[in-house]
């Protein structure tokens, strides 16, 4: 088990009103699992994603990462966990616009104090893997959406994390490039046996996961298991 959520609540203060975004979530994410978190907007899936990604701390309840409660970690420890164990893939790609593709992929390695030549080698290797070997010196603005998302996936993979967290990874892509990106993610899951957690409201995408958690109004509505063979198949 990689991540365990125990009765997790997240409550936002909106003026005088307290708005609960998550209401007592219990969930375990196993090692090497391809999990989808599905739900309509406002269902609390982004909040859940932020909590799993150690970007935020729960208001109540526990999030255990490899057995440790993340609430006990300081900011720089959380940063270290994010940097070493979690790779983020965002809907908006979220590349640094002033850095080239290569520099973007090298960045998480540099935050982990990896030597420049080693970081460079690793970044080039991954960019080649995702088919961007000839685009490494391009700025994000010179790349198409699909290419940018592949750079973002490369960046997420650079530090060889245990978990890939993808937040609507195809939300800004057309269906063809979207499918390619999903294939990429499921390949990563299968080949490197990394845990992939994908947040989406796209029910076509959801089908690619092994397990689907349906969220509604901050609560888990149901959990759907799919046989291993079916999950991660090419569409």
């Amino acid at each position: 088990m990689v991540i365990q959520l125990e009765n997790v609540w997240k409550i936002y203060q909106m003026g005088d009103v307290q708005v609960p975004a998550l209401k007592g979530i219990d969930l375990e994410v196993k090692k090497g699992e391809f999990l989808a978190i599905a739900g309509a907007s406002g269902s609390g899936k982004s909040t859940m994603m932020n909590l799993i990604g150690c970007l935020d701390l729960p208001s109540k309840g526990k999030i255990l990462l490899g057995g440790d409660d993340i609430a006990g970690f300081g900011e720089s420890q959380l940063a270290q966990i994010r940097g070493q164990k979690i790779g983020f893939v965002f809907q908006q790609f979220n590349l640094i616009p002033t850095l080239t593709a290569l520099e973007n992929v090298m960045l998480p390695l540099e935050f982990q104090d990896v030597d420049t030549p080693a970081a460079r080698e690793k970044a080039l290797e991954i960019l080649n893997l995702v088919g961007l070997g000839d685009r490494v010196h391009h700025l994000p603005s010179q790349l198409s959406g699909g290419q940018q998302q592949r750079v973002a996936i490369s960046r997420a993979l650079a530090v060889d994390p245990e978990i890939i967290l993808a937040d609507e990874p195809t939300g800004n892509l057309d269906s063809k490039t979207g499918a390619f990106v999903i294939d990429l993610l499921s390949n990563i899951h299968k080949k490197d046996s990394k845990s992939v957690i994908m947040v989406t409201h796209d029910f076509q995408l959801v089908k690619r996961a092994e397990r689907i958690v349906y969220l509604k109004d901050g609560e888990i509505e149901r959990i759907e298991h799919k046989p291993k063979e079916q999950g991660g198949e090419f569409a």
Binding site: N50, D56, A79, R82, G87, F88, N94, L95, T98
Partner: protein, 420 residues
């Protein structure tokens, strides 16, 4: 994250916001340039004073009559260096031969001479001028003076109605330059010029004086008693002993003249003490003007802080991204701190160049605008000044960047990521 990586990212931010960064840099450039230029004027004045007062000789102590307990005064030089100085001494009791004898007993004194001085009407080829006349002991004077002969000779012990003429009087006072062997008239007495002094350019020197044997001066100038002197100068054997000898001379004179501290009617000064006073004054002035210039630096610093806040705001999303991929607070802090330090550094470097340029132009401008004399003003840019200016500019950059950088580092990753 290693510092060179942070530096790279900091430079990246600067490179991608050129216009704003340059505008910010200009603020620092102006401030540093102003400080460098102004301090260089001060340094120039300082050096000017040092070189000019050097003409007095660091080993000379002057005792002159006059009230006031201040032992340090501008009335340095060989007593009565400036016209009209006899007027001040007239009120006080003059120095006498007895004082010379007392001072002779002070240890460490190599030479001693009494001097009479005053102003006299001088005629030369039908032209008239008021000159400062100094009667000296011919045997001792040439050992004590720092003036050099341009032509002719020093005075000898048997000379009577001969004079040595200061360089400025010889060259500039009369239409026809004075030369050796010319005859001049001072207070209706005829004198032959036997020597012309080189111009020293300083204010303590003998440029504007007529030097004559003390016997002749007593006969020529009014109001000088036969046993009295307008000043006594001592030359010490070792310049390190100046302060100590001054103290001893002061004590002995007080005793022999039966004076208490309150009744003290003479002054003891050395060129060193004069120099120190002058240095103090120029330093204070430089500090004052520098402080005014520093105000513009302060404005520059506020400019940096402002730009940094804008930059942090603009980069909020990127800060969120960096945090989500493992940037620690200290990494973010370092990137933005380096960013503002670089702004300070570049501003400092350019400011130094501009300031040095201005300071090298100032002597020309100064002469025109302020009607400064031939010596004009000099400006000196020392390496220390440049190093300080650079350190200050980088320091200002970092101080101005601390709060924005701290804010950036404290941004919550979730909020920063959501920022558009």
């Amino acid at each position: 994250m290693k510092i060179n990586k942070s530096l790279k990212l900091a430079v990246n931010i600067i490179v991608h916001s050129k216009l704003r960064t340059w505008l910010t840099i200009i603020g620092i450039v102006i401030g540093i340039a102003a400080v460098v230029a102004i301090v260089s004027i001060g340094e120039g004045m300082q050096q000017n004073i040092e070189s000019r007062l050097g003409g007095l000789g660091a080993d000379i102590i002057t005792i002159s009559p006059g009230g006031g307990r201040a032992s340090v005064g501008f009335r340095g030089g060989h007593g009565g260096g400036m016209p009209g100085s006899t007027a001040t001494s007239a009120a006080a009791e003059n120095l006498t031969k007895k004082d010379v004898l007392v001072l002779q007993s002070v240890g460490g004194v190599e030479f001693i001479q009494g001097i009479v001085s005053g102003n006299g009407q001088m005629y030369y080829l039908g032209e008239k001028a008021t000159v400062s006349v100094e009667g000296i002991d011919p045997l001792v004077w040439k050992e004590m003076t720092t003036s050099e002969l341009e032509s002719g000779r020093f005075l000898g012990p048997s000379d009577y109605n001969v004079v040595i003429v200061g360089g400025r009087i010889a060259k500039d006072t009369f239409k026809q330059p004075l030369t050796v062997n010319r005859m001049i008239t001072i207070e209706e007495k005829a004198f032959k010029v036997v020597g012309i002094l080189k111009e020293s350019g300083g204010f303590g020197g003998d440029d504007s004086k007529i030097i004559m044997p003390i016997k002749a001066a007593r006969d020529t100038l009014e109001d000088v008693g036969s046993d009295e002197f307008d000043s006594i100068t001592l030359k010490v054997a070792n310049t390190d002993d100046v302060d100590q000898i001054m103290e001893e001379a002061d004590k002995k004179l007080m005793i022999s003249r039966h004076l208490t501290e309150k009744e003290k009617d003479f002054r003891i000064s050395s060129s060193q003490s004069v120099q120190e006073t002058m240095s103090d004054i120029t330093q204070t002035m430089t500090l004052f003007l520098g402080a005014i210039a520093a105000v513009s630096l302060l404005v520059g610093a506020v400019g940096i802080a402002n730009t940094m806040f804008t930059s942090v705001l603009e980069k909020t999303k990127e800060i969120g991204i960096m945090k989500s991929i493992g940037a620690k607070n200290s990494d973010i802090m370092m990137i933005f701190l380096l960013n503002s330090a670089i702004v300070g550094l570049v501003g400092g470097l350019l400011g130094i160049c501009l300031g040095t340029g201005i300071s090298s132009l100032l002597p020309f401008l100064g002469m025109r605008l302020m009607g400064m004399g031939r010596e004009g003003m000099t400006t000196v840019v020392t390496p220390m000044l440049l190093i300080y200016a650079l350190l200050i500019s980088v320091g200002i950059g970092m101080v101005a960047g601390v709060i924005p950088a701290y804010r950036a580092s404290k941004l919550k990753p979730v909020d920063a990521l959501r920022y558009e």
